[in-house]
């Protein structure tokens, strides 16, 4: 389990470089896909709920520290996203989760929840409506992230599950 944490944390850094340098080039109206969340869901589905919750916390902490976000905001949203993704952990269904649309749907759900919580924490004094909070700032980035997660579904090697 400890080795898994090390790998997933080491892999986090190149992904964060891509997230902060290349991903902004494909932003649509300020909405960007969240590669870090895709990786979080990926590892949570492989390793379980406790693992996902802790990993979400670690990812959020590093992200907040490095990008200058409000410290604690991404920590909280990613912790909850990891916890939520953990409900879909099932050792017997690993292959079906990764080789079908299920993975993208889980990413959609977790990314939407992650975006809504993050927005709620950072915009606590905002006059934005609940509709805007849920749809524009929750669902739209969530859908964009879920679309990108198809890459994992398409390219995930079947052997590595076994």
């Amino acid at each position: 389990m400890r080795t898994d944490y090390i790998y997933s944390i080491i892999l986090f850094f190149p992904l964060l470089i891509i997230q902060t340098t290349i991903v902004p080039l494909v932003a649509i109206d300020g909405a960007v896909p969240d590669l870090i969340l895709i990786m979080l869901v990926f590892y949570t589905i492989r390793n379980g709920q406790v693992y996902g919750t802790v990993l979400g916390f670690i990812y959020g902490f590093i992200f907040d520290l490095i990008t200058g976000s409000f410290l604690g905001s991404t920590m909280l949203s990613k912790t909850l996203a990891g916890f939520l993704a953990g409900y879909f952990y099932n050792e017997n269904r690993l292959e079906s989760n990764f080789k079908s649309l299920v993975f993208s749907l889980i990413v959609l759900l977790c990314a939407s929840v992650d975006s809504v919580i993050y927005t709620f924490i950072t915009q606590i004094d905002s006059s934005s409506s609940l509709f805007s909070l849920l749809i524009e700032q929750g669902m739209i980035p969530g859908i964009y992230t879920a679309l990108l997660s198809f890459v994992v579904v398409i390219f995930y090697p079947q052997r590595s599950i076994n």
């Binding site: 290349i22 902004p24 406790v50 905001s73 953990g86 950072t122 980035p141």
Partner: protein
Amino acid sequence: MKRLFLELWENFKEYIVLVVLIVASLLALTFNENIAVQKVRAAAFGSFAGVTSVVSDLISIAKIKSENTRLSEVNAELMLQVNMLRQYGIENRALKELLNFKDSSDYPLIPAIIVAKSLTRAQNTFTLNVGSKNNVSRGMPVINDEGLVGIIHSVSEDFSIVRTLKNQELKLTVKDERSRIDAVMKWNGENLVMINVPKTHDVEPGDRIITSELSSIVPVPIPVGVVLKLTDVERGIFNEVKVKPFVDFMRIQHVFVLGIVESRQKNNLELNFYNRD
């Protein structure tokens, strides 16, 4: 007792871990302005930005051709403007000499490249490849050829983080260039808005918005954006004015840090809303 704890852990470990980590996250939210946290943050993003700057350079090379074409056009336009301004400058200097007017200081521009962008709805931040070594300090405005980009928030030796106009933590005093009306502008998560503008004030769509000399953060006039529309027109005594920023935050790559050296005497006289250490 130990067995009870073990049983509790076995049955509810997911929830125990979740609660502990949520509490830790909430505690972290309260430590944002802590000096120690800011130091750790400066060290963290300083180390990381070293790597992202390499990737960013590679991307810049790919974009350099189109950027060159655009800059050539801007250059031509600027050449015409400079010609005109030179005439005004000569007249201005002559008039100042006549009046024995105290000359205004020049503002040094520190060129910088954005090496990383953190784009979220509420807290857009950019990482620049200049830091305290280049005389950049917290609170300095960041601009490009289009207008104001943001304000330096954290500085390490070689890198700095900018809070862009699309960051809820940044509030600026701005003014309508035509009617000279001052107002506070902020990012509400969706739009750049000037808040609490009385309905009797003369602000119209299409007006240019610049930073106000009342601002303790950006005391020189820098273009910010253009008024899109007025909202909340039907109710209340205030309008909310939507502003479209001049700067394209998605495309932007090269910026300048405005190395404003402030007058301490002036700051001590005025209420300064922004602590710059």
